[in-house]
Amino acid sequence: MLQRAIDSSPHSPITDAVPAGAPLVRLTGVAKDYNGFQAVHPLDMTIERGDFVSILGPSGCGKTTLLRMLGGFITPSQGRIEVDGVDVTALPPEKRATNMVFQGYGLFPHMSVRQNIGYGLRLARTPAREVAERVEEMVDLVQLGAFAERAPTALSGGQQQRVALARALIMRPKVLLLDEPFAALDLKLRKAMQDEMRRLHDAIGGTFVFVTHDQTEAMALANRIAVMEGGHLRQLGTAEEIYLHPANHFVSAFVGEANFVRAMRRNGRVALSNGLTVVSPGEDGDVEIGVRPERLMIGAPAEGADVCLRGSVTERLFLGAHVQYRVLTESGETLVANALEGHFSPGDSLRIGWNLADQWVVAS
Amino acid sequence: MKQHVARNLGLVVGILTVVFMTAPLVLVVLFSFNDSVVMTFPIKGLTFDWYRTLLSRDDFWGALRNSVIVTLAVGAGSTVIGTLAAMVIVRMRPRVSALAMSLFGLPMMMPPLVLALALLTLFSALGVRLSLMTVVLAHLTFTMPFVILIVTARLRDFDTAMLDSARDLGASPWTAFRSVTFPIIRPTLFGAGLIAMALSLDDFIITFFMLGGGNTLPTLVWGMLRTGVDPSINALGALILLATLGTSALALRITGYRG
């Protein structure tokens, strides 16, 4: 069903793509200052054709401001935004080849689903027949055929969300912007919409930029993730890069769970507590060694690990998929380890360790 | 750029409109202190003479007394009657309650002259003698819809779980009303009553036709208007303004009404 509707569309945005090489979107030194409050600090970012970029961060990190600058709803206080080589920094939203799916959807309550979806094309003075055809395509694509004549207020949250998606996609935007579109949906529907979103992106191609505060959602959808905090872009990379090699303490802690062990860096080497030192370029000073709980080994396997410490179990939680141990090491650090087996009990002494390949070092 | 122009044009037109709307009231207050019979700028000196002239008039005190009686009676009457009606209306099925609201709202849309003359004709056919009482009755018709509107809106927001739990804990419907509903909606009732009072105090046309003899404040203004230029009208106007503004500001504050 989905596939058919897509194949019948005359041309998808990706085949429209003009000269290869240059990035589709280029942000240069873009920043937003609200009377002294720096919502977004100057940042550079490029988005390639066909990218599914997720802007991830806690609330108030500037991610929505950044997205709204892309959409033209907020004018940057400085910097330059280019789409397809054209400077759009000063263009209002209606003149930009980007379209947005808003948080809360912003559907028109006085128009039917069909009228909502066709609104942008009608404004563009598209011939009525073509509008009708493309609206039908979209209605099929988002599977709303049975509801097309209803008012959006008569639809469920998930259906409203599809209308909003269809209303933006019908414009064949160069970049589709999505502002926490699934925030109002319950977990199950959220997962279903994520699957649909991914399918949609695979099927029609195009470039999506997606704002979310949910790291699982970002990882499930995006091929590149931009992590923001306090108006700064903290890291931009694939899900693996961000999860396995976080660039700083914030990214380490925000994306997934992390254990931190304090250490010192001297002359480009970091000394671990068992005496081992590893090469780690950077400024001298206090650093933190990060390890994911599922990468920690406990008991017998730990004895063969690159780094091995002694400790005692302070808490054991059976969580279904794994068992979570809280271990107090002899050096006084508390580490959280996720293990598949669970034959240790609180009070037990054990060894705990990890391999150098699973750790990362960030400034503290 | 063009957008900016349109936006600022809107602001300019809007502000001019508001100035146009408020200017008469500002002038009345200003000139009530003006040390001259001629009302023109610049104001040369300030005086309380117009207030003194006004307060020394016997008919002012009579009119004030009548206005106070009418206003209080209308405020109390329409609040009680309107609230009782609102309590039934919120429990109606949506269609029925919408019908009831538009029916009770009819007098709001009727020009005051029509209301006054229809009542006058009926009263004269029935031989009812005009008095402050007839003024109060007539004012009930157009103040009650406002009370019903405001109280119904408040009751719709009311969490009925509170009433259910009161009943669950052993309260009779009346006790539940007295001990739960009433204390919670009291500010709204007070606010609605004050709005009714402000509307009543402001009415001239209906009062004029319903009042058998004597004066209320608006009919006193009418009398003074017809005798020509009399700056103590400004003083009276400022006092009426103060009273209505006082009551309505209080009402708005209490009900938290915005629009």
Binding site: - | V18, T40, I81, F204, P218, V221, L225
Partner: protein, 284 residues
């Protein structure tokens, strides 16, 4: 079951006083007033013989005044509704201090004393009034303009100024629940700022605009104080004719017939306005 029915009936009793007010003091008087419009008077006594003489007389003598009243009231209602929309939109769209300031000013003028406002306008517009003094002072005219006061223009000015706050509040009330995201969505899909107004705002506030229009029209068509105080002898509106039937002339039936003729005309104009708004302000 019985208990519930009894409780519902007992609760409905609370409606009785309100029904008594609405019925006894509004509906019954109006119906009686309508009946009286078919009677005639003789020697200051009502003669209970139904006839159409009053309406025939209005048809022959008062069509002009009714048309004039409807015209001037329509002008007032259109200007008031337009300005009310501008102000209400400002209050709604301005997050900054201006919005609250304008709302405050609107609420302040809501109850300012109808007669006192008219009096203020008389002093503003008079020969020696502030407007004329300013015009002469700025050498825009050599002599004061007499036509400012005692003219139809003065009636329009005074009534628009008086009616504005009453028109602003319902329009603002209708704008308030509009989701700002839907306006951004319209921009995003290619609508200019004016397009947003046309497609996403106006179609949703038609009932409130109609309320503002109807209220302004009805109050103007039924007013006799403003035309008398600032309209001069030439500005005779139906309110003046109606009122005089209950004063000097004591011809209640004719006055009643005039009232219903004016009301009927008003309803026709308001219906036309409704159809017009539905046609031009509908979602396309």
């Amino acid at each position: 079951m019985m208990g519930v029915a009894v409780a519902t009936m007992r609760r409905n009793l609370l409606l009785v006083p309100a029904i008594a007010v609405l019925g006894g003091l509004f509906l019954v008087p109006l119906v009686w007033f309508l009946v009286v419009s078919f009677y005639r008077v003789s020697l200051f006594q009502l003669v209970h013989e139904p006839n159409l003489a009053n309406y025939a007389r209005i048809w022959s003598d008062y069509l002009g005044p009714i048309g004039y009243t409807a015209g001037i009231s329509a002008l007032i209602a259109v200007v008031t509704t337009l300005l009310a929309f501008v102000v209400a939109h400002l209050i709604w769209s301005r997050g900054d201090g201006w919005g609250n300031f304008l709302l405050g000013a609107t609420l302040l003028t809501l109850f300012g004393g109808y007669l006192v406002k008219i009096y203020a306008w008389r002093t503003l517009l008079g020969r020696e009034g502030i407007v004329n003094n300013t015009l002469v002072g700025l050498h825009l005219t050599d002599n004061p303009i007499d036509a400012l006061l005692y003219s139809p223009l003065a009636v329009v000015l005074v009534l628009v100024s008086y009616l504005l706050p009453f028109a602003i509040l319902p329009v603002y009330g209708a704008l308030r629940p509009i989701d700002p995201t839907s306006l951004e969505a319209a921009r995003d899909l290619g609508a200019s700022p004016w397009g947003v107004l046309r497609d996403a705002v106006l179609p949703r506030i038609v009932p409130a605009l109609l309320t503002a229009f109807a209220l302004s029209f009805l109050v103007s068509a039924g007013d006799y104080v403003t035309p008398r105080m600032v309209g001069g002898t030439r500005t005779q509106m139906m309110g003046n004719f109606i009122e005089s039937q209950f004063g000097l002339r004591m011809n209640m039936p004719l006055g009643a017939a005039m009232t219903f003729s004016t009301l009927l005309t008003s309803i026709a104009v308001i219906a036309a306005a409704w159809i017009g708004m539905r046609t031009f302000l509908r979602a396309k």
